[in-house]
């Protein structure tokens, strides 16, 4: 039933899949961190329409399925004449979807720093940027790191969505190996092991970060 020979016979497929899963997750992490920061800033500006825009973005993407977000890029854009590969549309979809969660994590982190601190910093002569840089952000980062690390874990798992749009990730290749060998359980078992290889260290690191930052915080 479970035969590790499969992993070696199809090592090229599995390694290619693992690499693409990792790439998609890393690109989406970097992208969603940047996008999420922008959205978090939008949600906290004094300008009401921008704040409203930030809120709409977060609520929209948190309440629709990831697959639908991916379909917007994979099926929707071609209808406008823009054709993206499964890997690209999947990674963009992951980025946009995850950025809504990261925006909320960042906002929660910044809001957790008492307003009195930035008021004190401002009244002692620091500029807004200096206040952010030296007072608010160093404290916020401690609160923000564990949830973002958790989002990265989710990203690795969610990247399997690429398999649905032929994105050449681990899930996609597991399906290829399955259809070539008719060993479904075995093909999936190897893919599961490779996923665990990525996710178990990540979830361990998340828990460690949570503990450590809770102690110093």
């Amino acid at each position: 039933m479970i035969d590790f020979a499969l992993l070696f016979d199809y090592s090229e497929e599995y390694m290619e899949g693992l690499r693409n899963t990792l790439y998609a997750s890393l690109i989406a992490l970097a992208g969603s961190f940047m996008l999420g920061t922008i959205v978090a800033v939008l949600r906290m500006t004094p300008v009401r329409p921008l704040r409203w825009l930030g809120r709409a973005y977060v609520e929209f993407f948190r309440n629709i399925p990831l697959l639908l977000v991916v379909y917007i890029f994979f099926l929707g854009l071609p209808a406008l004449g823009i054709i993206l590969s499964g890997f690209v549309s999947g990674t963009i979809g992951l980025t946009v979807y995850t950025s809504a969660y990261i925006a909320e994590a960042i906002r929660a982190g910044i809001m957790a720093v008492p307003a009195g601190q930035s008021e004190a910093a401002r009244s002692s002569g620091l500029t807004y940027i200096q206040t952010m840089r030296h007072v608010v952000l160093p404290q916020a980062i401690k609160i923000v790191v564990p949830p973002i690390s958790n989002q990265f874990l989710n990203l690795v798992k969610n990247s399997s969505i690429l398999g649905v749009v032929s994105g050449f990730d681990l899930m996609y290749y597991a399906d290829i190996v399955n259809s070539e060998t008719y060993q479904t359980v075995n093909a999936l078992f190897m893919a599961a092991l490779l996923y665990l290889l990525l996710t178990i260290p990540l979830s361990y690191a998340t828990r460690l970060l949570e503990k450590r930052l809770a102690r110093t915080g």
Partner: protein, 215 residues
Amino acid sequence: MDFIGAYSPDNLSFLMEGLGMTLRLALLAIALSFIFGCLIGAIRYARVPVLSQVLGAIVGTIRNLPLLLLIFFARFGLPELGLPITPFWSAILALTVFEAAMISELVRSGLQSVEKGLVEAARASGLSYMQTLWHIVLPIGLRRMVPPIVSQFISLLKDTSLVVIVSLAELMHNAKIIMADFDFVFPILILVASIYFLVNYTLSQVARRLETPQH
């Protein structure tokens, strides 16, 4: 883009049938995963020897795997092991196993958040362990778990869309069939997004109402 053609009565009723299946899947999986999640969470909270460790290992593994892989396994792997299963029940099985693992962790941390002093006081005033769990720990813990559990239910509802890979006629599957017509892609994407949004947003607003103020 053809909005009028895309929103023809036939297409709309086809999508509504899909929504019906999505809701049926979600409700059944929510009920089952809540029951199993509470059970597993309580067992792990109480540190039942052996059982607690075994469940911990299983929960840890499942939480670290993509749901898509579990759905695929339930639908195509189980028959290979001699367990034939219909698309509907394979979807229910995979969703329940995955979400129960998630919920069990929420339940466990909710129970653990109940102050130790309360448990000791209950025990000291003569309640048995089970009575303490039932009358003190569960009511307090459960109330604190409401927000994370509801957002887990929203995740579940969104995750039902992954069932497209087993060709079950739920909302996303039916939408995809209609979107085979190029002119219908955008109108249908907009409509389907609105449907998911409405259902999930309503759920989250109801949850906010349910959230009783903490004393």
